[in-house]
């Protein structure tokens, strides 16, 4: 069984919702990313989402955009991200890792070359923000050949007929976008999320993770009530940036601690009943 399927099966048998953490590889530093990923697992992440930095991340809000800029300034590349995953795998064989990025760096690397290298490094799935189903055939074939899951986004604007098309192609899980907007934006509307998740569930048995706009324990708990997993990204990166702003000499260890503390509080919020 794939790591993703095993993880969602375990969560289901435990009656718990999963927590997916997103950080950008190479931010705050390339040398610290592997350690940060391990720390996120300790803090409660069930699935790790690793952002592949791109010069033009057009679906990201300001917080994650700046993370991409810092990572690129630190010299991070697609090969660098694969190396980070491989290094992480030496100590952790269980936790699934999803790469999330944009088409161009992957296209440049070559779809088949990327799929082979990803499988070799221990990647489990890929989200390519700007490859909707209409443009996905070539990479889909390459990923399938090495049993990597291609993970699709479904947005509040996706019509029901399109949801059907998407779930038929999807593997691993469905990533349901909570708000119309870029990452880190907006106030999520729990009722609307619930309606959208229900619509998706009526068409597929795949697990549904909800992301965009989840900032803290409260918003995570609201979403966990209807979803199989909750994705947190901008809030983690923001927590690391704030430490550095308040204390310019903050060590990388302190920054990591800020992210893991937030993730831990979100995990606890999800596991406790509403106050």
């Amino acid at each position: 069984m794939s790591r993703l399927n095993a993880t969602f099966a375990r969560l289901r048998s435990e009656g718990r919702q999963g927590l997916v953490s997103y950080i950008v590889a190479g931010d705050p530093s390339p040398s610290g990313t592997v350690e940060l990923l391990h720390q996120l697992v300790v803090a409660g992440a069930d699935v790790l989402e690793v952002g592949v930095p791109f010069s033009d991340p057009m679906a990201e809000g300001a917080v994650i955009q700046k993370g991409h800029e810092r990572a690129l300034a630190n010299g991070m590349s697609l090969q660098g991200v694969l190396d980070i995953v491989a290094a992480f795998r030496q100590a952790d064989q269980q936790t699934p890792i999803i790469m999330m990025g944009y088409a161009n760096p992957i296209e440049r690397f070559g779809y088949e070359a990327f799929a082979a290298a990803g499988a070799e490094a221990g990647v489990d799935g890929l989200i390519t923000v700007d490859l909707p189903p209409e443009e996905v055939d070539a990479i889909d074939a390459a990923l399938k050949a090495v049993e990597l899951d291609n993970i699709f986004l479904i947005s509040p604007t996706t019509p029901a007929s399109r949801i059907q098309t998407i779930v038929e192609r999807a593997r691993g899980f469905i990533y349901c976008i909570a708000v119309k907007g870029v990452t880190g934006s907006g106030q999520l509307d729990a009722t609307e999320v619930a309606r959208n998740v229900a619509l998706i569930r009526s068409k597929t048995a795949l697990p549904v993770a909800v992301g965009f706009g989840i900032k803290d324990a409260d918003s995570a708990r609201a979403v966990a009530a209807v979803a199989d997993a909750v994705v947190v990204g901008s809030a983690l990166i923001d927590a690391m940036v704030r430490v550095a702003e308040q204390e310019p000499v903050a060590s990388e260890h302190q920054r990591h601690a800020a992210a893991t503390a937030l993730l831990k509080s979100i995990r606890e919020g999800m596991d406790s009943s509403p106050s």
Partner: protein
């Protein structure tokens, strides 16, 4: 690429997926897909709708001032001593550039969709001004995204947009130029997709934009074709246009594509020289990739990151290019060449002094190449240059380069 160049070929693109051969497509986040489908469906319905076309044509005639003249630049042609140079005077349009042809068309689409707000990206500010203008006329809220660097070098256009009631939003990410303005406009659109129409300013972006912008701009070439036959008694030997995203170029070229005897030259920004890397010439020097919703030629590094560009003209300072141009390059129908900053500045001065026509710095790139081309032609041949815009917006830039305080 081995492809038979037939008249039918040019009518066959884009295909149903918005592709021009391997280029084009719809590479956007899922949130935008249904907005693009709606736009595609609306445009498919209105494209051949007589009432819509009448409305568009009437606006072009009475608001923009079309047809724009085809002017024989006699003194310039005599001075060069080769082929005759004709200028398609898009600079005489309302707001001073070809950009208004497209914003009139897209504003009509926005109106049909009942959107109350329009957004645009802009580099030189000409598309921003043209968008702010149609928004004022229709009473629509208007936000224009513009890189900080461009706000500085096109300050006159920034003030024009404000006078027209638009909000100019400074973009501080990346290289702070056109590419980043487009990222930011796409982010705004994702967020406000219900009530907002995105008026893209060139033949780039996801399908159906490259197609509909081409269709709206093709009025340039249709007029030029008729005018050339009437005034010169034949089709031109060549067409020349500058290429930023490629809208003024495709507008001129498209109605001539099936005329095999008409050679075509798209002029990219050579910046400090193609050999220096500091330029904005993806067709001349780049490689295929995916950016801003389509597959096309891009300036990128080995890791697929988009490179910073350089051009003296803000409107050409873009690392990508419309997908139809990428295809026209690969099938060999259009020649893509470059003129550098220095050559463009020299051409700017020459046209101003010899003909009393001050071109935009973007347009000056086309003029620079046209002079070279005409020099090697005989006087019984002629070429048409798309004089895409007037240069008033650039006088502060030119003055600064020459160390003059205005």
């Amino acid at each position: 690429m081995t492809i038979d160049i037939t008249p039918e070929l040019f009518a066959s693109v884009p295909d149903a997926h918005g592709r021009f051969g391997p280029f084009g497509g719809k590479f956007v986040a899922e949130t935008l897909m249904s907005a693009l489908s709606d736009l595609e469906a609306l445009y498919a319905r209105l494209k051949d709708d007589a009432a819509f076309q009448r409305e568009f044509d009437a606006d072009l005639a009475h608001y923009v001032g079309r047809p724009s003249p085809l002017y024989e630049a006699s003194r310039l042609s005599d001075a060069i001593g080769g082929g005759r140079i004709y200028l398609k005077r898009e600079d005489l349009n309302h707001t001073g550039a070809h950009k208004i042809n497209n914003t009139i068309g897209q504003a009509l689409l926005a109106k049909h969709m009942g959107k109350r707000r329009v957004i645009a990206e802009t580099g030189a500010g000409q598309h921003g001004v043209a968008t702010a203008t149609v928004a004022a006329r229709l009473g629509l809220e208007c936000h224009v995204f513009m890189g900080e660097e461009d706000i500085r070098r096109q300050s006159l256009n920034v003030y024009r947009m404000k006078l027209l009631g638009a909000e100019v939003v400074p973009v501080t990410s990346g290289s702070r130029t056109l590419k980043d303005a487009m990222n930011e406009a796409l982010r705004d659109w994702v967020t406000n997709v219900d009530d907002t129409f995105y008026i893209i300013g060139t033949v780039a972006g996801p399908h159906p934009y490259p197609m509909l912008v081409r269709d709206f701009q093709s009025v340039i070439g249709r007029e030029a074709r008729v005018q050339s036959l009437a005034q010169a008694g034949k089709l031109p030997a060549g067409l020349v246009a500058c290429v930023g995203g490629g809208s003024n170029a495709i507008g001129l070229f498209h109605p001539f594509l099936q005329d095999a005897e008409v050679a075509m030259y798209g002029v990219e920004a050579g910046g400090k020289g193609l050999e220096t890397g500091a330029h904005a010439a993806p067709l001349s020097m780049g490689s295929p990739g995916v950016l801003h919703g389509n597959r096309t030629y891009l300036m990128q590094d080995d890791d697929g990151q988009i490179l910073d560009t350089h051009s003296v003209s803000a409107g050409l300072d873009y690392p990508g290019v419309g997908p139809e141009h990428a295809w026209l390059k690969d099938i060999g129908r259009v020649n893509y060449v470059a003129a550098n900053d220095e050559e463009a500045l020299a051409a700017f001065h020459r046209l101003t002094r010899v003909e009393g026509i001050m071109p935009a710095l973007e347009t000056a790139h086309a003029m620079a190449y046209a002079e070279r081309l005409a020099a090697d032609m005989s006087p019984d041949e002629h070429i048409i240059v798309n004089l895409s815009g007037r240069g008033d917006k650039d006088i502060l830039t030119v003055a600064a380069i020459e160390g003059i305080e205005v």
